[in-house]
Symmetry: C2
Subunit: 329 residues, 2 copies
């Protein structure tokens, strides 16, 4: 490890930004310059009292004091505007996760980054991110094969919102679960054809309004088109206290499995899985490791937009290449 | 995919070389120039009748016709001599797997490769190789954590040899198995302290000589110092026919698990596993994907010795960066 401190800025302070603050504290080669917010700085309560909170406009004075700016806004409204703008001024890392729009977003960030000698790592996290890397490794190592991605057990925001719109429902959350049967079929090397629906089940935890008809609520949920009708859906009724106590975390995770053959005689299975108690904190931790890579790539003169596919594993580590070869190879 | 064919040579033709031949046939951007052997070429029977087999001395005429030479010799006797010699003349990929000697081997290959503008990817395979990458990713993404490597179910050559030296034993094989209990402890996020011995059990399949005392053979095996005495070891007696029918494959695999916390409140678990019906064929398939990377790195002017840590995932894929972003991210 050399002694250079990498100076990090955080743009946006929701669950993800808070996770980045926590992750920086666990990486001794990084210093947090500050949190930059569109809200009133006084309204933001960082994890550490020593964390400086400033208006996002203050970033214009930070071009020489921030090595990498981590963008913690959302993919729908924030990043499409913020990514290209910030990539012209800073090395950036973001978690842009609208899969279908990644090529377009990549181009929109690539041009300003290149023009200004900056490095922009986009779509970093676990999906897109670590799951994508494992889909790529799987295909490359077993070209004759099939790749399966399963998600869960994970809290789904959109489906939780749908439950809460059902008449008689006071509160509720929905978890997507990978189907155990489907996973076992895939692990067996059989290469089954499975739709997303066959690979997942849904589990709902619902708090009823007083006097609501549980049977009617359950029927409305499990038959709801698009959201639940085609899935194996289970509804559990719980008290508000239980909901708060047991369902306020944001777990997630999943599996990427590549099943393939090296010869007709020999099947091979590669599996990568995540079991996350906090989805935003893990995503944040991935962003911070890639901030180290963004810094190093920029020092090497590797400008423009890049994704997790373009980053050699060693660039993520605090250790030197020689240490890595000695200790981890 | 561009239309360049990458021209590959295979040096050495045992199980690994045969696996490389099979893998090249599954990668449409690669052409096999030939197998180069120290044996008499007539004695080598390649998988495909179209594969050219030549004496290893013929390599001196192939500097312009081979883009990457895959070294398929052993780490003990072949590679320490062959690696440095060949890295002066070819881009190479090898599976040097004596973990403790990797730094020394790296240096011995790096100097001739650099001096001659060649790229040498060493210690490629799954351990070292894919497991190493996952140990690195685990540490980098969850700095506050612990990493666990489990091996198996896998055939162990050294332990199989030890069984076969026991008086009364006609033939036999030994499998190393990961302990299910230990894996479950690790997956729970508890970060237990476990020795290699606590993480693995051993299973032996033994064919007795006529008249041999089964109880005595079993006692000798399970109490054998270094090999079995400190492990939970099971001995099964089987017929020679069963041994041939059910135990002539070379399965292997294992698990790399990183258990860590992003904050005190939230544990996160990353798991990578391989379930291989043929260890040499999978290793060969990894070598071939990295041959593509070696070729591309050399074209980019990245000379010298490198390991899996230095290779961005995208370099392994037959697909273009834009295709990868569109299809796999």
């Amino acid at each position: 490890m050399d002694n250079t401190q990498i100076r990090i800025g955080i743009a946006g302070y929701g669950n993800l930004g808070r996770g980045v603050e926590a992750a920086i504290a666990r990486n001794p080669d990084m210093t947090l310059v500050g949190v930059f917010t569109r809200r009133s700085p006084e309204s933001v309560k960082p994890l550490s009292a020593r964390t400086s909170v400033q208006p996002i406009t203050a970033l214009s004075d930070c071009r020489d004091t921030i090595d990498v700016l981590i963008l913690c806004g959302g993919s729908k409204d924030d990043l499409p505007r913020q990514g290209p703008e910030m990539a012209a001024r800073f090395n950036i890392v973001d978690s842009f996760d609208t899969h279908a729009r990644i090529p377009e977003y990549f181009d929109s960030v690539d041009a300003p980054a290149r023009a200004n000698g900056k490095t922009a790592l986009i779509s970093i996290g676990w999906d897109p991110g670590m799951f994508s890397i494992n889909r790529l490794y799987g295909e490359a190592l077993l070209p004759d094969g099939a790749t399966y991605t399963f998600w869960g057990k994970g809290l789904s925001q959109g489906h939780s919102d749908a439950i809460r719109r059902v008449p008689g429902v006071k509160a509720g959350v929905q978890y997507t679960l990978p189907s155990r049967d489907a996973i076992e079929q895939v692990r067996s090397g059989l290469r089954p054809e499975l739709t997303t629906r066959q690979k997942h089940t849904r589990e709902c935890y619902v708090v009823l309004n007083e006097g609501a008809d549980a049977a009617e609520v359950e029927r409305t949920i499990v038959t709801m088109p698009n959201y639940f009708a085609d899935y194996d859906t289970t509804v559990h009724f719980i008290s508000e206290e239980t909901l708060l106590r047991e369902h306020s975390r944001m777990p997630h995770g999943g599996f990427v499995i590549r099943s393939g053959n090296t010869t007709e005689a020999h099947a091979q299975v590669i599996e990568y899985s995540l079991q996350l108690e906090s989805n935003p904190e893990f995503t944040a931790s991935v962003l911070v490791a890639y901030a180290r890579a963004a810094y190093r790539l920029n020092v090497q003169g590797q400008f423009g937009a890049k994704t997790a596919f373009d980053v050699a594993p060693g660039l993520l580590s605090i250790k030197t290449p020689a240490q890595l070869r000695k200790e981890l190879l």
